[in-house]
Structures are given as structure tokens and as C-alpha cells.
């Protein structure tokens, strides 16, 4: 079997990759936030909480925002294709998702980077 690198395949592949990355993030997020139960001092002294303000983490945050936007907007596209007759305009819907995602990404990235 060979994969055809058309738009639908790329969208499908990116959906999987972003989904897996979001699950990895969710695991880390739950682990870090579970330290909230230990109280203020323990939480704010926890290594990974202190690392949150590091520049490298800001870069990872941008990656997370990108993954969430693509996964969510492409997910809406999938629902429109599956339930609302969007199958005939699925490529247009893909580019609409990418366009809307890019606009939101820029708006979301500005506050993240200004906290540097």
C-alpha cells in the first residue's frame, strides 16, 4: 500500500499527530497541576511550575496553541463533512480552517510572547 500525499491525507495525518501531542501535553498538565493540592508553597516551588516562565516553555506553548487550533478547527471541518453535507466543499473547508487558525494563532501568540 502506498500513501497519496493529497490534501485529505495531510489533514488526516496532522490530525493524528496533533492529537497524540495534545494527549502527551494533557498527561504533563495533569501531573504538574496535581501539585496544586500540596498548597501554595509546594506548588510554586515545584520545578516544573518554575520552568513555566522559561523562554523555551513559551515556544512549547506556541506549539500547543498551534496543535489545539488545528485539531479543533479541523475537527469542526470533519463534523461538517460527516453531518452537514460539507463533503462537497471539504478542501475549501480545510483552507478555511487553516486561515481561521492562523488568524487566531497570531492573536494568541502576541500575549504569550509579550510575557517573555
Amino acid at each position: 500500500m502506498r500513501y497519496r500525499w493529497d490534501l485529505g491525507f495531510v489533514a488526516w495525518l496532522l490530525m493524528r499527530i496533533s492529537g497524540v501531542l495534545i494527549v502527551v501535553f494533557l498527561l504533563m498538565h495533569l501531573f504538574v497541576l496535581s501539585h496544586l493540592g500540596l498548597g501554595k508553597e509546594a506548588f510554586e516551588g515545584f520545578l516544573f511550575v518554575r520552568l513555566a516562565d522559561q523562554p523555551l516553555n513559551k515556544l512549547l506553548e506556541l506549539g500547543l496553541i498551534g496543535c489545539l487550533l488545528f485539531h479543533g478547527l479541523n475537527g469542526i471541518r470533519i463534523c461538517l463533512v460527516d453531518f452537514a453535507g460539507g463533503v462537497f466543499v471539504q478542501k475549501k473547508l480545510f483552507w478555511a480552517a487553516v486561515g481561521i487558525g492562523a488568524a487566531i494563532f497570531v492573536a494568541a501568540a502576541i500575549p504569550v510572547l509579550s510575557h517573555l
Partner: protein, 121 residues
């Protein structure tokens, strides 16, 4: 019956639920992100900012529901991917078992953080 059809937990209902939970999560993540990370008071994210929300039972309920949907949608997604590449019944059982355990662990970790928050001195 083909070997890769040996273990599938329901198929179609999870296909539908993946879409339903997905749409819910778009809304929940938008609310969570805007409140938790984009309306943070001066000084950045802090323990107090989280605590101020978690003082309200409705926010706890919001986060428990959010947690439940995240776990289901995320692990169901991994399970769907696994079913595309893993065809042996034994391996599928092992993966499904591991994912269920992981879901239980994530639910406990999150639930035990959310529910008792603020009730201890």
C-alpha cells in the same frame, strides 16, 4: 471473522461520541484557555488565580466535566489509531487495558486535585 475484528469496543458509537465530545471540547477549551491563561491578573499565572476559581463548586463541576471529556476523547483517539496499526487480538487487549488504566490514573489525578481543593486548611 478476521483477526483484526476480534476486539472492537462498539465501533460506531465511539466514532459518534468522538465527534460529539470533540465539539464540546472546542467550547470548553476556549473557555478554559481564555479564563485561565488570557485574563490572568498582573504578575502572571499563580496559585491564587487558580484558587479563586476553584472556590466555586460550579467551576469544580466544569473542570470535572472537562476532565472526563478530555480523557475519553484523547484515549479514544489513541485507541482508534492503535486499531489501524495493531491487528493481533492479544496486543489489542493489552493496549486497551493499558489505556483504560491510564484513563483511571488521569481521572484520579485530576479528580483528587479538583474535588478536595480548598477544603483542607
Amino acid at each position: 471473522m478476521r483477526a483484526d475484528q476480534g476486539i472492537q469496543s462498539g465501533g460506531a458509537i465511539h466514532w459518534l461520541l468522538q465527534r460529539v465530545t470533540g465539539i464540546c471540547l472546542v467550547v470548553l477549551i476556549a473557555v478554559h484557555t481564555l479564563i485561565a491563561h488570557y485574563t490572568v491578573p498582573q504578575g502572571g499565572l499563580s496559585y491564587e488565580w487558580v484558587a479563586s476559581r476553584m472556590a466555586y463548586p460550579l467551576w469544580k463541576l466544569f473542570y470535572l466535566f472537562f476532565l472526563l471529556l478530555c480523557i475519553y476523547h484523547g484515549l479514544n483517539g489513541i485507541w482508534m489509531i492503535a486499531q489501524d496499526y495493531v491487528h493481533r487480538g492479544g496486543w489489542r487487549v493489552a493496549i486497551l487495558g493499558a489505556l483504560l488504566m491510564l484513563g483511571l490514573l488521569m481521572g484520579s489525578l485530576g479528580g483528587l486535585t479538583i474535588i478536595p481543593f480548598g477544603t483542607k486548611a
